[in-house]
Subunit: 321 residues, 2 copies
Amino acid sequence: MGEFELIRHYFAAAPCAQGGEGVALGIGDDCALLDVPAGERLAVSTDTLVAGVHFPHVCDPLLLGQRSLAVAASDLAAMGATPIGFTLALTLPEVSAAWLQAYAEGLDRMARHCGLSLIGGDTTRGPLSITMTVFGRVPAGQALLRAGARAGDLLCVGGALGNAAGALPLVLGERQAEAGLSAPLLAHYWSPSPQFALGQALRGKATAALDISDGLLADCGHIAKASGLALEVNLAEVPVSPALEGFLGVEAARHAALTGGDDYVLAFTLPPAQLSSLRASGVPFHVIGRALDGEGVSLRDPQGQDITPQQRGYQHFRETP
Amino acid sequence: MGEFELIRHYFAAAPCAQGGEGVALGIGDDCALLDVPAGERLAVSTDTLVAGVHFPHVCDPLLLGQRSLAVAASDLAAMGATPIGFTLALTLPEVSAAWLQAYAEGLDRMARHCGLSLIGGDTTRGPLSITMTVFGRVPAGQALLRAGARAGDLLCVGGALGNAAGALPLVLGERQAEAGLSAPLLAHYWSPSPQFALGQALRGKATAALDISDGLLADCGHIAKASGLALEVNLAEVPVSPALEGFLGVEAARHAALTGGDDYVLAFTLPPAQLSSLRASGVPFHVIGRALDGEGVSLRDPQGQDITPQQRGYQHFRETP
């Protein structure tokens, strides 16, 4: 048995690979087989993370295992889907038992946290790269799309923003901070928690949704464009964590919250009539603005002045050679 | 808009990305949405091809586009699935418009040949690598698994074997041959045709099936192990193409047919009582042996002598630095 065959057996033995709800056939045949209940649709998303582009060449493989799955799973949450499973395409330059064991441990933790079964994949030799394809199910007609927001809707987010962008200098070892500040930021970067409970609570309530991966303003631009309207963000309402403010200061923390990427927090539009019923669901969220006729995304200060910065999507970090 | 955003728009405009049967929502949102009819299951498979491992760094991108999808789609055929769609995770070192146009053209040709819609994916910067995840549907209980063969079943294959392995020295430019020999071999390598018609004809008839990617003997070993029995291959019955015999000679052609990889031809076991009804379906296939009590795979010469070689799975070519 070759070393890559051994790796496949190794992943196949992980707790998250032992099947689960919706998995009719898991790892080991030409295909996996999934059950999708009548009246539901299968939601599918694929994400690739490349070493040196999406994560540092040198990093803790356990944390990488957690993050690589969470980033992909967040797209399921953003559709309001119930998690089923995922495939892992792992390309490795060499086989290190210690690296694999830690990576698989992190992957398995996040998989079980999300309720996702590992159902298949491929393991190949080459420069380190990870492609996840994630699967969920959502009642037909209730998936949360980017199109569908209406003028008058409230603009909301599922939690504090900017933590991952703020964590980047810590991740890259460019800066240090006391543990009280660095720990929550690094936790958000390495182990984002896909907002499945929020996404499912939004079914039948939200008119549009996505997960923030390019930065709040850029991603709001995607909803605005897909829905054919304008979105207005009230700067004072954008939630920022105490750790981010403590680490970066108020101004830079706000900038990170508006333009930083990799947050994997949901942004959505909600008709005002749904506000009380969503609050009653108990899942936390923040109203940060509104949808109105027009186009594009604007930012308002507490006095209502337009202070929209030049919008730029988040660029993944890229190591200099 | 960044160059990789442009690439995404480029693929989204391809004919194969305009939706199709079973695709409720295609490219452009956080997830794609697939419809799986009641009583059917979703079949899923993921394959990664890495430059320098699974294909030469320098090759025709149109041919690569065809091959990269066909290799993955073959797993759907091997389950007896009806094709629905695929996601493409493409990692590129740089953006070349000519390369992308040709790659997308080849991909689109194969997608339409197979009846597969491009439903999503990811495009990232990094060393050239392609991960495809393919989706199909198959009636519950009728998927063709590796387990299920019974003693007394006939062992069959869907066509001539060894062509792709025979083509390898031509692909790598190590040898040349007259066009009459090289053209069919190269066509088989660069544009294998997933055997969907055969796979679907085998539903309810075959007891086990897979597609030959590691070589006939190694893949028969997978069926034998999963089914808990032995398989016997009659060397004289193994189909070999005239082009392969002409290029390699009879002995080396037989060796390629037995141990060469990348054929993407189906191998399956069939109860003798199903033989006439499968023949009546009109899809060509060849009976090459039988299943019997025991374990492992043995090879017999026309006199019935055991001439089993030392079995080795196919190793993907790896360029020397």
